[in-house]
């Protein structure tokens, strides 16, 4: 049976924790709004890029001499998993959901006898994957010190990825991130980056227009494909960022609610114990008086 003082201390410490989680929830809500609008602002560019690319790719009739970023190396022996996670924890299952998805894919690929490599973006994913796949991690980018995600960051990652590809480091690259569906729903998503996946529907509509290309079609396609990778990574980072704050907000909301529940229970217990003690003292006094 805990003493009254113990109970008082416990209530005070839960209250302090509740204050922290509440503050974190509010901070996450504010940051979420900003992250969400950044993700939305990036959408037109990515969409345009996709439709232009689809348009160009649909005009390529022969695969001969087509850029390798579009058609791949012709093999699929070495897979690179680009795993984007958050830099911090306290966000529910956000990081672990992405990592779990990547890990399952990696194990499935290994079972098929393929080689798997990892490129980690974000500290949490790196730490989780390092335990199991330490020697498979080829690169790691940390964005902890970044305050405002810019296109430059995505570009730097894309550059590393392309260098690795050109050196023949891998055949297929897949991007893992969390798609931001709503504040309470973040869906871990896999997206193939190399060879590029081009939407088909958009190509048909634009194909009728006679285009002039400056310089040639192939040069444009060649310039566009690496850029497309940077754009896709940038979009994934922004989506991830929004998802992270969404996940953190709901996790902190839960924590705040749990703390409230705990305080309620402990207070009840405290009051009961206190009353029991008073009753006990009264009985002692009364029975003492009667004995006289």
């Amino acid at each position: 049976m805990p003493s009254l003082k113990d109970l008082r201390n416990r209530i005070a410490s839960v209250k302090a924790t509740q204050k922290i989680t509440k503050a974190m929830q509010m901070v996450a809500a504010a940051k979420l709004r900003r992250a969400q609008s950044a993700a939305e602002a990036a959408r037109p560019y990515a969409e345009r890029m996709g439709s232009v690319l689809a348009n160009l790719a649909s005009r390529l009739t022969t695969t001969e001499g087509a850029p390798r970023l579009l058609i791949g190396t012709g093999k699929d022996d070495v897979h690179l998993l680009l795993v984007c996670t958050g830099e911090r924890g306290l966000c529910g299952a956000f990081n672990s959901a992405i990592v779990r998805m990547a890990r399952e894919r990696a194990l499935a690929l290994k079972a098929q006898g393929k080689t798997v490599k990892f490129f980690c973006v974000g500290k949490k994913g790196y730490e989780a994957l390092r335990r199991q796949f330490e020697k498979d991690i080829v690169d790691y980018v940390e964005l902890r010190s970044v305050r405002q995600l810019g296109f430059d960051h995505a570009e730097a990652i894309a550059k590393k990825l392309l260098r690795l590809f050109n050196e023949g480091g891998f055949d297929v690259a897949t991007l893992y991130y969390s798609h931001f569906r709503s504040v309470i729903a973040q869906v871990p998503t896999a997206q193939q980056l190399i060879p590029a996946q081009v939407g088909e529907g958009a190509g048909a509509a634009g194909a009728e227009a006679v285009y002039d290309y400056e310089p040639g079609e192939e040069e444009i396609l060649e310039a566009l494909l690496p850029r497309n990778i940077a754009v896709q990574i940038f979009r994934a980072l922004l989506e991830n960022n929004a998802s992270f704050y969404g996940a953190q907000m709901s996790a902190m909301d839960n924590a705040t609610r749990n703390a409230g529940e705990m305080i309620r229970k402990q207070t009840l217990k405290y009051n009961r114990t206190r009353q029991a003690m008073i009753t006990k003292e009264l009985i002692e006094i009364i029975s003492g008086a009667e004995a006289l």
Partner: protein
Amino acid sequence: MAIFHFELVSPERLLFAGEVESVIVPSVEGEMTVTAQHAPVMAVLKPGVVTVSEGKGAPRRLFVRGGFADVRPEGLTILAEHAIPLEELDAEALAQLVKDAQEDFDDAATDEAKRDAAEKLSQLKELRDALVH
């Protein structure tokens, strides 16, 4: 003068969307002016200034770096990797860009990379000289 729809988007945001009279686009093969009813063209951009005339008032000028312009029957879209209004671009920022390009050129290992870097550098220098005057 006839107007057409013009959009300037960078990965970070939509910078401009609206009806305009003409837009001067710095393409790698020279500057071109896009007006209404322009034939469909897809052009890769070089670092330079996009001049947008909305009909009334002074034309708006924006600095773009990397990207491409897509002219379609329904309008012009510029997808620029970096785009900032010219007023916000100062000589210092440009000098920094030139310096970065110079470093890229110095660091370039292969012939191809060297050629690309040299091209970028000369385009930037050209632009810097043009803006100073």
